[in-house]
């Protein structure tokens, strides 16, 4: 009986350790994603992994992206006030439309059914960080 109790205790301790580790990893990731990342300046659109176009985040535009064999898939990308979002799409899940606006470097909106990915990038030399003097 005593032995069984100890085993249960060991299990619970290991469970908690595992969960704490995962939470820690997530916290570090979130800190990096939301605190350390700069705003990007360009939206890159890829379809099926191939480049489709680049659009500046500083210019308000509406871009209709037609994909699929006969252009039957539609996604409408809107850039407004320095943020980009998918205004409408005829994909079955609609997840890309519900995605929040993106503007941080590296943020992306994915339409899995249409294989359309829009990603915020920093154009030019992305290796040199912005230095404010």
């Amino acid at each position: 009986m005593k032995e069984k109790e100890n085993t249960v205790k060991r299990y619970v301790r290991n469970d908690i350790l595992l969960i704490l580790c995962l939470v820690l990893i997530a916290a570090i990731g979130l800190f990096y994603l939301y605190v350390l990342r700069d705003h990007g300046d360009t939206v890159r659109v890829t379809v099926d992994g191939k480049e489709y176009g680049n659009y500046s985040l500083s210019q308000d535009i509406t871009e209709d992206i037609y994909t699929g064999k006969d252009g039957e898939y539609h996604n409408r990308l809107v850039i407004k006030d320095g943020t980009a979002f998918m205004e409408s799409a005829n994909c079955p899940d609609g997840i890309c439309v519900e995605h929040s606006r993106v503007f941080r470097d590296g943020e992306s909106i994915v339409c899995l059914p249409h294989r359309v990915v829009i990603t915020v990038v920093t154009s030019g030399d992305s290796n040199t960080p912005d230095v404010v003097i």
Partner: protein, 166 residues
Amino acid sequence: MSKKTKNVAFIGVCTALALVLSYIEAILPPLFAAVPGIKMGLPNIIIMFLLYRRGPAAAIAVSLIRMLLVSLLFGNMMALMYSLAGAMLSLIVMIILRRLNFLSTVGVSVAGGVSHNIGQILTAMLLLETAELGYYLVVLTITGTVSGMLIGLCGAALIKHIPNKI
């Protein structure tokens, strides 16, 4: 009833239950609409139960049959690829962890939930040939941990309370 017939019936009932849970999950509003294909993994309750009661073979069988049926009933081939990768990775992780015997059902389920999501995103990264999806891994680690905990608790309750005789 012969033992074999009983076993077939048991697997059938479990598959049906897993299918019902898939359906409930499909009609529920998504937990995290921002992330493609994010699923709580409710059917994992049944898979967990099977893994502990009947071993890896039964769990893998029901998991495969469920996914095939789901993709036939209300999915597409793309979705099948994601769920297949997610479910298989999570099953492998859970089978190994159960063997290693150092976590409770809740811990095993948490690891299963996280690996389920990671499997889906890795597949998406491969299929879309984009590394940008890596961003989702962070969010999916959190959702996988939370849903894994809930599912682990449910699975543990089933394993504890459903008589071994069935």
